[in-house]
């Protein structure tokens, strides 16, 4: 059959729309994973045992099983118990929680690495433990772990391809729609890969800019 890249342009609109959905789900899951990661980290370090241990167990579960399986469970499993979430949100929650667990690990390390003197300086000024954490320790911890969190965001972009299996019409699924009409898998998957590559470059560029900006505040 050979390669014929001219089959792609007629479907450019569809592919681009898929790319937009990929960006949308990556961005929303990214935000969820970031704030979720902070929340989990705080709970894992400071919450009472009754909250801490369930959260740790939950995190362990997420870290030792594949994302794909988790997506299936959220999308197909929750329907079974009467919770019907649209595919996009199921994907967003699955990706978001999965990476929140990984981010939480990184952020915990970041929090523990903050110098004891920072806690003391806050407490000495009369700030409470909570205020000191919120205004002094956590902002610094998060800033310190921007590079590894950024790596997770890059991984998240690529793992967003998995939500195609629960029916979100992002890049992969969009190319599959084109393939079902043209029977040209190579060309369209290649086109999708090229889109990912470009989005990935943009994301890396943005993360690099952020890292440069926060260098001053270290």
């Amino acid at each position: 059959m050979g390669l014929d890249l001219t089959v792609v342009p007629p479907f450019a609109g569809l592919i681009l729309q898929g790319a937009l959905w990929t960006i949308a789900i990556t961005a929303s899951a990214g935000v969820l994973s970031f704030f979720g990661g902070i929340g989990f980290a705080i709970c894992a370090l400071y919450a009472p045992a009754i909250i801490r241990y369930p959260i740790k167990a939950f995190a362990w579960l997420f870290m030792t099983t594949p994302l794909l399986l988790q997506l299936f469970l959220i999308y197909f499993g929750l329907v079974q118990i009467g919770i019907d979430i649209p595919a996009f949100f199921a994907g967003m929650i699955g990706l978001g929680l999965h990476f929140a667990v990984y981010n939480s690990d990184i952020i915990q390390t970041g929090i523990l690495a903050i110098d004891k003197g920072q806690h003391e300086a806050g407490r000495t000024l009369g700030l409470s433990r909570g205020q000191t954490l919120r205004k002094i320790v956590i902002p610094q911890a998060v800033r310190d772990v921007v590079p590894p969190i950024g790596n997770n965001m890059i991984a998240l972009l690529k793992d967003s391809a998995l939500v195609s299996v629960i029916g979100v019409v992002e890049l992969v699924h969009a190319s599959q729609l084109a393939i079902s009409e043209t029977f040209r898998p190579f060309e369209f998957y290649l086109a999708a890969a090229a889109c990912y590559y470009v989005v990935n470059l943009l994301l890396e560029f943005t993360l690099h800019r952020i890292e440069r900006r926060i260098a001053l505040t270290r």
Binding site: G117, Q118, T124
Partner: protein, 260 residues
């Protein structure tokens, strides 16, 4: 100088880390506007005593008073937290390693606590920051980040940050010993200026000359006890105890050997 009622008082302070008794029954009275310098060898308990005053290192036994308030009052946890946060607003502390908040600008370092705890407006906070920075001679650095400052400048900002809470007493734990020699003087000058304004201060230091020039009273600590105390002339020129003499002799020799 002998006021009837002390401003800061420590009564029979004891502090143990496990079996190690770090403070052994120390009592201390400081009057309003008085300046106390604490000297002594490494590990003698100077920092521990200082940090007991704002309860950063809680005492095992004994009481700490600031005016009519007991700092280390026995209270249920929640109430105690409220109490100590209020008390600490009145006690400024300056650390050896500055402990500025690196993610905040100089302005924000100074205004963070006043804004959060005293609910002052942004405009008032800005005025406060400008005022305090002028005090320590750093008005032109207001929008810098700590990473852009020299050690001496960092420490002066740390002093400004503490002063912005309008504390009743200031604690200094070796404020200049992490600084390059040429930067020590600018910080000492700020502290001297505070002394002239009659700020009550308790200063832990390794700099005998500075202690002599600024303090009303010197405490020499060793092994968790106050071995000797008195006005600087007496303690430095005519120490009574053998351990004080030894310590001072060692220090003078070390200073004589140190490059100018």
């Amino acid at each position: 100088m002998t006021d009837a009622k002390p401003f800061v008082e420590i009564r029979q302070a004891r502090k143990c880390y496990g079996d190690l008794e770090v403070l052994k029954n120390i009592s201390l009275k400081v009057n309003k506007g008085q300046i106390i310098a604490i000297i002594g060898p490494s590990g003698s308990g100077k920092s521990t005593l200082l940090r007991a005053i704002n309860d950063l290192d809680p005492l095992t036994d004994g009481e700490v008073w600031l005016e009519d308030t007991q700092v280390n009052k026995k209270l249920p946890h929640k109430q105690y937290e409220n109490h100590i946060n209020k008390v600490r607003q009145n006690i400024g502390m300056v650390f050896q390693h500055f402990n500025l908040f690196p993610h905040l600008s100089v302005r924000e370092n100074i205004t963070l606590a006043p804004k959060m705890l005293k609910g002052i407006s942004d405009a008032e906070a800005d005025r406060l920051a400008e005022e305090q920075l002028e005090h320590v001679g750093l008005s032109d650095r207001i929008d810098y980040y700590p990473s852009q400052l020299s050690g001496g400048q960092k420490q002066r900002v740390a002093i400004a940050r503490a002063l912005a809470m309008q504390p009743k007493v200031m604690l200094f734990d070796e404020a200049t010993s992490a600084l390059d020699p040429e930067l020590v003087e600018e910080v000492n000058l700020v502290m001297k200026r505070l002394a002239e304004e009659h700020m009550t201060m308790i200063i832990v230091t390794h700099e005998m000359a500075f202690a002599e020039s600024v303090a009303d009273r010197i405490l020499f600590m060793d092994g968790g006890v106050v071995v000797e105390e008195g006005p600087p002339e007496q303690l430095f020129r005519a120490p009574k105890h053998e351990r004080t003499k030894e310590f001072l002799a060692k220090h003078l020799r070390a200073n004589a050997l140190a490059p100018a």
